[in-house]
Amino acid sequence: MSALLDVEDLRVSFPSRSGPVEAVRGVSFTLGRERLGIVGESGSGKSQTGRAILGLTPPPGRTEARRLTFDGKDLRHASAAEWRAIRGKRISMVMQDPKFSLNPVMTVGRQLMEAAARGTAARDARAQALAMLEAVQIREPERVFRAYPHELSGGMGQRAMIAMMLITEPDLLIADEPTSALDVTVQIEVLRILDRLVRERGMGLIFISHDLRLVSSFCDRVLVMYAGKVVEELRASELTKARHPYTQGLFNCLPRIEGDRRPLPVLERDADWAR
């Protein structure tokens, strides 16, 4: 199986008064039609990695890579027209908080129809939008279709957003903390939807999160990022066998329902990890 996405030596830097600051420093990975998790703490460069793949590094930031290919196409020098053909249609992105990513003055239905392929007759787009809302387990698609984002709960809004990202049937979905703003019980439902879509449609998924435990229980493979670099790549099922002290530290410092470790082990950062 050829790789859907091939990233080699990806770098993202931002200019500052004391010279450029590198947020992502040489990240390489390949992705097939699987669930890949990217885990790291704030400032590790995980979100910038996700944005750079879609060419969404905010200016004045700069992205460089030795290789950045999606389905055989080189994304490094893609023109605006080429990006338009990719973004949304072939690669979609789900952001953390539906409150800030849905248009507050448009009904969910109109936003969904807008996302549906252009040139589709309005009636088809409407049918597609309703079908998609149903696919993300929204019980009353008609009501949600007519609703404005503020009339929906967080979990509903996030599902509506996933529906919007998936209506174009992309090959790759980049989900940046898609469930962090949600309650745990809702979180599981949203993950179940993503899981089903990966399995049924053969979609590739990049799941970016700070939550090591969640990612390891959901993804096939996990990249652990620290200070802009991938410090460890492992199969999600082998998290307990992590070699890198950062991964081990991150896993061990979580409080657990059983087991009384007092004080909690604290992560001792080593300057070498960032090198």
């Binding site: 019980t185 410092c253 329902i257």
Partner: protein
């Protein structure tokens, strides 16, 4: 007698026509030196219970007592020294244009404490920040450091009760461990009483001996830490929370 008693508390916001009953008849009691947890999802009313206790939300029904004294009506100045609160978001709860020194000096001057300089230095040391942090502004601190300042601000008045509203949910996992350890140590050293509100069952299991599960403004059930560890929840909702907290696979298996 319990230090804090909450008896049939209800909190209602809004006026006739658009009333929201945030808390509906919640009761619990916390002993001196105990750490008590309140767990629930967003909108469950868990934070509102804390806010009602500290006087930031209206008590529309029921009774709150601390050391046997009823908190209805005007509360004594002493109450506002003994009971302190730490908020969730250290980015929002510190004044952006006040230095750490000013943040810590304000409660001291309100409560007319003597030798403020020495107390500020000691408070910073207690929370593991050196004297170098004293004249910094919040934007010069990381999230974990800010939360330590917020804890120092609460501790500087030598309180007996700390009300902790999601004190670590805005922090990275490794920083969360440091702050939880700090809170644990301070409680042991000073015999403090905690009420800790969190959506994270693992944090509550680690920090609290007993906990209350809330949903839709009502108490679902009260559990001890041992109940939680033994998965001895009686109510469906608590069981669902327990499974969900174990991650995706465990939750997916029980569903199918």
């Amino acid at each position: 007698m319990a230090l804090i008693e909450v008896d049939n508390l209800s909190v209602t916001f809004g006026h006739a026509g658009s009333r929201v009953q945030a808390v509906r008849g919640v009761s619990f009691a916390v002993d001196k030196g105990e750490s008590y947890g309140i767990v629930g999802e967003s909108g469950s009313g868990k934070s509102t219970v804390l806010r009602a206790l500290v006087g930031l939300a209206p008590v529309t029904g029921g009774r709150l007592t601390i050391e046997g004294r009823d908190l209805a009506g005007r509360r004594p100045a002493d109450f506002y020294r003994k009971v302190q609160m730490v908020f969730q978001d250290p980015y929002a709860s510190l004044h952006p244009r006040h230095t750490v020194d000013q943040v810590l000096a304000e409660p001291l001057s309100i409560h007319r404490f003597p030798d403020r300089g020495a107390r500020i230095a000691r408070a910073l040391e207690d929370v593991g920040l050196g004297p170098g942090f004293r004249f910094r502004y919040p934007h010069q601190l990381s999230g974990g450091q800010r939360q330590r300042v917020a804890i120092a601000r609460a501790l500087i008045l030598e309180p007996e009760v700390l009300l902790l509203d999601e004190p670590t949910s805005a922090l990275d996992a490794s920083i969360q461990a440091e702050v939880l350890n700090l809170l644990d140590r301070l409680r042991a050293e000073r015999g403090l009483t905690y009420i800790l509100v969190s959506h994270d069952l693992a944090v509550v299991a680690h920090m609290c001996e007993r906990l209350l599960v809330m949903q839709h403004g009502q108490a679902v059930e009260e559990l001890t830490r041992e109940d939680l560890r033994g998965r001895a929840a009686a109510k469906e909702y608590t069981k669902a929370l327990l499974t969900a907290s174990e991650g995706y696979r465990a939750a997916a298996e029980t569903a199918t």
